[in-house]
């Protein structure tokens, strides 16, 4: 889950890392008051979860509080890549000597967090790493032992930084490592980290990403920041169809039937079993099919969940048929899914034989499932028909229908 800049800065501040005397607001008049309090040139920054703020006109400089107010008014009304800003940040325009970079991310291969430090900040760190590799220090650290001062010194010194800058940077890096670990972040980045004329350091911007799975253990922090439980912070807002999918899933605790993503095609998909859904979605597209949705079903859902999901997909405008397909299942009962999807057709007044392009779920209780499907004339396949072949048949049928 990504944080807005104003939230990320608050997290940095709480960790004991110096930040500027910024203010966050959703009101242009208040932006003026913040600018007056700061008393000097300011930067007005749009608070959106999208890159390219500067290019889109979401970052502006002001010399007076009145100018800050005018900029805030414009920026608050400015959509960036389809995102309406949450508010604006009014920040002192700091005079700094040099920009640095400090960040922590996970390395999935080494299975450890890695501290990345560079005396060249303010721009794309990936680019710096490529063009000036000696200016980017990396250091993996333990998941069990705390990140030590010596580790900070080593990574800073490896980039050629010495003198008082090195000593002043050490606590910033150790605090950043600590906040990364303690808050279950997947990314914690200060960029730029500015060295001011008096030699002190201050975080001018920060990016924080918290692991969704860990949200539950950071309730107090999220509450303090005003992040609602229902805020998904996905790359795009969920559609009504996707929310309806979640509602089907939350009906009861048995199995998974939901996690749907909406597309514009005519073939509805009730597919699943983890990697099976990725495989089947690819297969449908490979044969020229046009999926109406991606979805997951598995883990032994109840009849009503399977029915709810199939009804949702069948009711989506533009959907001609649905394909019900999975890889070989072991703990999902085939007969239960069969019952659910047939009930969905019947309750919508549709003919299962016509609406279900194919049913390919081999596995537990399949004989019972196949009997039910036979009774309603639905085409089904066992494990001797590959996932790709099943997808091909479904696409062929919908082609014949349109």
């Amino acid at each position: 889950m990504r944080f807005f800049e104003y939230e990320a800065r608050e997290i940095v501040k709480r960790a004991g890392i110096p930040v500027t005397d910024y203010g966050f607001t959703t009101d242009a008049q208040e932006a003026k008051e913040i600018a007056a309090r700061i008393g000097g040139p300011t930067v007005i920054k749009s608070q959106v979860l999208s890159g390219g703020r500067m290019k889109a006109g979401g970052v502006k400089f002001a010399d007076t509080p009145e100018e800050a107010e005018a900029h805030a008014k414009d920026i608050l009304a400015l959509e960036i890549n389809g995102h309406v800003p949450r508010g604006v940040l009014v920040d002192p325009r700091a005079e700094f000597e040099q920009e640095y970079y400090a960040g922590v991310v996970w390395d999935g291969i080494r299975k450890k967090p890695v501290m990345i430090f560079s005396p060249v900040g303010g721009i794309d760190i990936e680019q710096v790493a490529e063009e000036q590799p000696d200016k980017v220090g990396r250091r993996h650290f333990s998941n069990i032992l705390p990140f030590g001062d010596f580790e900070a010194k080593e990574v800073i010194a490896s980039t050629g930084v010495t003198g008082s800058a090195l000593n002043r940077l050490v606590p910033i890096l150790t605090r950043l490592a600590k906040l990364f670990v303690e808050n279950d972040m997947t990314l914690a980045e200060i960029n730029p980290l500015a060295r001011l004329a008096d030699g002190s350091f201050v975080a001018l911007d920060a990016h924080m990403d918290m692991e969704n799975e860990a949200r539950g253990r950071h309730k107090a922090l999220l509450k303090d920041l005003g992040v609602g439980d229902d805020e998904t912070r996905e790359a795009r807002e969920p559609t009504a169809f996707e929310l309806a999918g979640e509602a089907v899933d939350s009906q009861d605790h048995r199995g998974v039937a939901g996690n749907v993503t909406e597309f514009n095609g005519n073939l509805g998909l009730v597919i699943g079993a983890g990697g099976g859904s990725l495989t089947l979605f690819d297969a449908v597209r490979k044969y020229g099919g046009d999926p109406a949705n991606y979805c997951e079903i598995g883990g032994n859902p109840s009849v009503s969940k399977a029915k709810g999901l199939a009804k949702l997909v069948l009711s989506k405008p533009g959907v001609d048929k649905i394909a019900v397909m999975m890889s070989i299942v072991s703990n999902t009962r085939v007969d239960i899914v069969a019952r659910g999807v047939i009930a969905a057709c019947l309750e919508l007044g549709m003919d299962p034989a016509e609406k279900i392009a194919i049913f390919r779920i081999p596995g537990a209780w399949e004989e019972e499932g196949f009997k039910i499907l036979e009774r309603y004339g639905v085409e089904y396949a066992d494990r001797s028909v590959s996932m790709h072949e099943a997808a091909r048949r479904a696409v062929e049928k919908i082609g014949a229908a349109s």
Binding site: K111, S327, S330, N331
Partner: protein
């Protein structure tokens, strides 16, 4: 032979009294030569039995009751308690730990993996279905009930490593239907950080005489495939590898996440296209469809035996 487990392997089930764990225990006892499930652990349930398996409050009690070191544990406790359960297993001398639980934050996984490395233990998963040696033993829910597992898996020369639990069975079933049995199939889990990656399991398969080829299932996200490609190149592996890559469509939808937590598209290096190219450079064939895997594998094995 096999890797990780064989017919002599003893293991416990942590969280044994949960509904899924009760089924899993039954399945393991019934399959192949019958797993040696020597105990179960659920705090506060000392003295109960699950399908004849005695239940203890702690792993320490289970080890004391068994009277000898226990080889493995299948951990199926809620995410909030998994780390402690795994630490408990490791500190009680258990060397092979299969974590079934889903949705464990990666910090916890990384801590478990680090402690395991310090103690010479090995973690499979989390969010995985475990390990199966066809007709011999299964450790975990892999393949489902014994009679269903027997339909999909057969003994033979192919090692299977899969990031998706369900696809482990689908691919093995396809191999079985084509007359290619499996030496060991391992569901390694699809999360961003897992106990054992493809490359980390390769030395075990490499040392296993029964294994003549490897089939892997993979997805976008992470750098495990690049790691495998590098390992194969650097170690001059004797084993031909055929891969199947699902989720190719995700390349066209950057920033969206689908399915497994580990398949979140994080960058260009993690895309299906990029991974396919890297695997191909290392001589690993990426099949377009699962049904093509057996023929590609047979051709590759024949090629190696001619050149050997």
């Amino acid at each position: 032979m096999s890797i990780l487990v064989d017919e002599t392997t003893t293991f416990i089930v942590q969280g044994i009294t949960g509904r899924e764990a009760v089924n899993l225990t039954r399945e393991c006892l019934d399959y192949g030569k019958g797993a040696k499930v020597v105990g179960g652990v659920t705090p506060g349930r000392l003295g109960r039995e699950v399908h004849g398996v005695p239940v203890f409050d702690t792993v320490q009690q289970a080890v004391a009751h068994h009277g000898a070191p226990i080889d493995g544990s299948v951990v199926t406790v809620p995410p909030a308690f998994t780390k402690d359960a795994v630490f408990e297993a490791i500190e009680n001398g258990i060397k092979t730990i299969v974590i079934v639980t889903e949705r464990i934050p990666r910090r916890d996984v990384a801590q478990m993996v680090e402690l395991a490395a310090l103690r010479g233990a090995r973690i499979i998963g989390p969010n995985c279905l475990g390990i199966i040696v066809p007709d011999v033993i299964k450790m975990g829910g892999i393949g489902g009930p014994a009679k269903d597992a027997a339909k999909a898996y057969s003994p033979g020369p192919i090692g299977v490593i899969s990031r998706s639990g369900g696809m482990t069975t689908e691919m093995s079933s396809t191999l079985t239907a084509a007359g290619l049995g499996q030496s060991t199939a391992v569901s390694i889990g699809g999360d961003a950080i897992i106990g054992q990656s493809y490359a980390e399991l390769m030395p075990l398969f490499e040392a296993d005489e029964q294994t003549q080829g490897i089939v892997i299932y993979t997805e976008p996200g992470g750098r495990m495939e690049a790691e495998l490609a590098r390992w194969v190149t650097e170690n001059d592996s004797r084993l031909p590898i055929v891969a199947f890559m699902a989720g190719r469509f995700m390349d066209e939808m950057p920033g969206m996440s689908f399915g497994h937590a580990g398949t979140i598209v994080e960058g260009k290096e993690d895309t299906a296209t990029e991974k396919i190219a890297r695997l191909a450079e290392a001589g690993i064939t990426v099949a377009e469809e699962i049904s093509e895997i057996p023929d590609i594998m047979k051709a590759k094995i024949a090629e190696r035996s001619v050149s050997a």
